[in-house]
């Protein structure tokens, strides 16, 4: 008898909890989609931003970077060298200059991004079997210029050197197979994995995509919190009435809505966009989903915890927009994680975006499975738990405050 009663009452309570969550879910849904600002953050932001960034970085690598030539050698050898440089995919010869000063002028006008100086004695030295020098001056206003020019020149000149080596060995009486052996006793091969083309978008965009989701979610949640504070009589986040019995229901109801909306965006930004723009997408979908569930939850509860301190609608945008760039560096995709010093490493751990970005890149770009990305996976679940607790504490504190104010307010109205 008693058992039955317990069961039915517990069933009732589960039902009422679910109902509470559902009510909060519907309430949050209505307030979110009535608010134009939140719609921009939750819908337009994650829809358009990925397209915008993917569009901007469409041209993965640098093609035909203009280079100037100062050829004082005027020999058949130097023209061969110039033709070979021009034939590379990454560089093109913009013009020939008669002197370094002239080339410098073109460089100062930013017509060219590098100068290749071939000294007068090049051909002479080549013929005399001596070591010749070619000077390369390169623009470093962007790391990509340096990387491209350095690699193309290196590749072209090394290839030409190989041919000269053989000729010289032949001249020293070493011929045939043994000449090839000596010319290249230890060939080396540079195999690039994952981002095989060395593309800029393939490297940076996956991180940016995760960051866009994180930031729009954060701004949307904090904006909702700021608005409800502005409209609430006591400038508090959760009014005593609104919580319909238990903070658990409020938190879960809200989180369920955010989770549902952003599940769609994760599928779109991290699943469809990479396919559409031919960015790396070799990850196992199951592992990706496994990683993204705790990422989303951690991001939601992190934002909800912070939102307690947001007094107005616009505050979080003003104070945290700049943080997008900081978060990108903290994630360790541009500046390697191994070289982030102790304090900033710990600081970086706090933010779900760090692990979300690393986890996404490991699974999606590098084809790791969830075990290989276990640090990120565990960290994200730990953060989910941690930020759920902080959200609960924060909401509890807000509700207490709201109740206290209501009481004093009632007392005041009685006195008046």
């Amino acid at each position: 008898m008693n058992d039955k009663k317990d069961k039915s009452s517990s069933q009732n309570s589960i039902q009422s909890i679910l109902k509470g969550i559902w009510n909060n879910f519907v309430h949050e849904l209505k307030t979110s989609f009535r608010d134009r600002g939140v719609v921009i953050m939750f819908i337009l932001g994650p829809l358009i931003y990925p397209l915008l960034y993917a569009g901007m970085y469409l041209n993965e690598t640098l093609v035909d970077v203009p280079i100037g030539i100062v050829d004082n050698s005027h020999s058949s050898f130097s023209s061969q060298l110039i033709r070979n440089l021009d034939a590379t995919e990454n560089m093109k010869i913009y013009s020939h200059y008669s002197s370094m000063a002239e080339a410098q002028q073109a460089y100062d006008n930013r017509d060219i991004h590098g100068i290749i100086y071939i000294p007068k004695e090049l051909n002479y030295k080549i013929c005399k079997n001596e070591q010749a020098t070619v000077s390369v001056y390169c623009d470093v206003s962007s790391f990509m210029y340096y990387r491209t020019i350095y690699q193309s020149c290196n590749y072209t000149i090394l290839n030409m050197s190989k041919k000269i080596q053989i000729l010289r060995l032949n001249a020293s009486g070493i011929t045939g197979e043994s000449a090839t052996m000596i010319a290249d006793p230890m060939p080396y091969q540079n195999i690039s994995l994952y981002n095989t083309g060395g593309g800029f978008a393939s490297f940076l965009l996956p991180g940016i995509l995760v960051l866009i989701l994180f930031q729009t979610l954060f701004f949307g949640i904090t904006m909702l919190a700021g608005t409800s504070r502005e409209e609430n009589r006591f400038h508090l986040l959760v009014s005593a009435k609104a919580h319909c019995g238990g903070i658990f229901r409020v938190i879960c109801g809200k989180a369920a809505l955010y989770f549902l909306v952003y599940s769609v965006w994760i599928f779109y930004a991290l699943g469809i966009i990479p396919q559409l723009f031919n960015l790396p997408h070799i990850g196992n979908p199951v592992d990706l989903i496994k990683m993204m569930i705790p990422f989303l939850l951690a991001a939601i509860f992190f934002s909800m915890s912070v939102s307690v301190f947001i007094p107005n609608r616009e505050t979080s945008m003003i104070l945290f927009m700049f943080f997008s760039i900081i978060l990108l560096f903290l994630s360790g995709i541009t500046w390697p994680q191994s070289n982030i010093n102790g304090f900033w490493k710990v600081f970086a751990w706090i933010f779900p975006s760090t692990h979300g970005i690393q986890g996404y890149i490991k699974i999606n770009t590098m084809g790791s499975d969830i075990q290989h990305a276990s640090f990120e996976y565990i960290s994200l679940w730990a953060q989910t738990a941690m930020y759920f607790v902080t959200t609960s504490i924060a909401y509890l504190w807000q509700i207490k405050k709201s109740e206290r104010k209501q009481i004093t307010d009632n007392e005041i109205s009685i006195i008046v």
Partner: protein, 392 residues
């Protein structure tokens, strides 16, 4: 007439100072955030270059030769050998874990094959998912491979009796003499900080300009603001923005001093030219802020536009990926960003130290941005006086 204008400006200026201390967001959004950025960016890239990055070796040869090669690798600038692994699979998994950025694979009997002229192949695998780490580590490994291969050649040639004077000409017939103009140390901090710090300053200028005007519209105090300025929107804007002009220019100049005097980043012309560029960057940011809130006189819309514009400024500047290589549409669009012109001035003046005539047009364009508020003059005035826009 000028007297009333001046008094309008002064009255608004005083009013704004009171407003600034009434809420923490004004000082947090300017001084607070910029101080954080200074500290963050100046301590984050501590070495300027990512040095001693973790690299692994799979040394199946394990000869004195291969061990010497690994020791040599370890002595290069960017590489630290952190792991000795026993198979390709293990190494690949370590790479997938993100523990190493590159690994070198040396096959069985490598040295034996070298000495018997079988030309064994040295392979290294680079993780370009981390493009910067990968390419810097790869550069050091290929350099060391070349050097080692040169050492072998020298030995063989000596043994064959080739004249010592000819050996260098055979090993390396053409030498590349690489110069990186303006930044000979390829300091990574130089690339980024010279753009990121001004970009942050620009972002916050935009945001706070939009905020300090928009919040008057939102809280329905804009009528009082204009009346306080003797009914002149010009005086109202001048007086209102002047405190931020002073603060942001101050912060910008501190930023310049930190970059060029404290960090000693390349500065090949007078620092005055960078000061001028910074001042114009602040003014153009404020002008754009007025434009945004003028077109969209609703605070949160204005803030959103300012935020998006400010973050896109970093890409538009062209320090990360060269603007010349962006798709046509975006390439032309970058001209609408003050950061693009600021960046070109920085490249010309600080990095390359060319004559200032090359940057003249860029200074003028930056100055031209300050005329933009004229387009929204009337609209903003009516928005402020009639308060006929939604507050949310």
């Amino acid at each position: 007439m000028p007297n009333t204008l001046l008094s309008g400006i002064i009255q608004t200026f005083k009013r704004e100072l009171k407003r600034m201390v009434s809420r923490p967001i004004y000082l947090l959004g300017s001084i607070g955030i910029m101080a954080f950025c200074f500290i963050f960016f100046l301590t984050f890239f501590n070495d300027g270059q990512p040095e001693k990055m973790p690299v692994a070796v799979v040394d199946l040869d394990n000869s004195s030769f291969s061990r010497q090669f690994i020791r040599n690798l370890k002595s290069t600038q960017h590489i630290d050998i952190v792991e000795h692994l026993s198979s390709f699979k293990e190494a690949r998994e370590e790479m997938q874990r993100g523990k190493i950025y590159t690994f070198v694979f040396i096959e069985h009997d490598f040295y034996k094959n070298v000495t018997t002229n079988r030309r064994p192949e040295m392979t290294f695998y680079v993780n370009n998912a981390y493009l910067i780490a990968g390419s810097l580590a790869a550069k050091d490994i290929s350099y060391m491979s070349l050097l080692t291969s040169g050492g072998i050649q020298r030995q063989v040639l000596r043994a064959k009796g080739v004249d010592e004077s000819q050996i260098m000409g055979i090993i390396q017939p053409i030498m590349i003499d690489m110069h990186s103009i303006g930044n000979p140390w390829i300091n990574y901090g130089t690339y980024l900080l010279n753009v990121l710090l001004p970009a942050m300053l620009h972002l916050m200028t935009l945001m706070l300009t939009v905020f300090c005007i928009g919040v008057e519209l939102k809280e329905r105090t804009s009528k009082e603001w204009i009346e306080n300025a003797d009914n002149s929107i010009f005086a109202g804007l001048m007086g209102k923005l002047l405190p931020y002009t002073i603060i942001f220019i101050g912060l910008g100049l501190i930023g310049n001093l930190l970059l060029y005097k404290y960090m000693h980043f390349p500065l090949n012309s007078s620092i005055g030219w960078m000061f001028l560029a910074t001042i114009l960057l602040v003014l153009s940011g404020q002008a754009l802020g007025i434009l945004f809130i003028g077109i969209l006189p609703v605070l949160r819309d204005g803030i959103t536009v300012a935020g998006v514009f400010g973050t896109l400024s970093i890409t538009a500047a062209g320090a990360t990926f060269p603007v010349e290589q962006l798709p046509y549409f975006f390439r032309e669009l970058t001209l609408a960003f003050p950061m693009r012109h600021y960046f070109l001035i920085y490249v010309n003046q600080a990095l390359n130290g060319v004559t200032v005539s090359h940057s003249l047009t860029k200074y003028i364009i930056l100055l031209g941005f300050t005329l933009l508020p004229l387009f929204v003059y009337k609209r903003l005035k009516s928005a402020a006086k009639d308060m006929n826009y939604p507050t949310k």
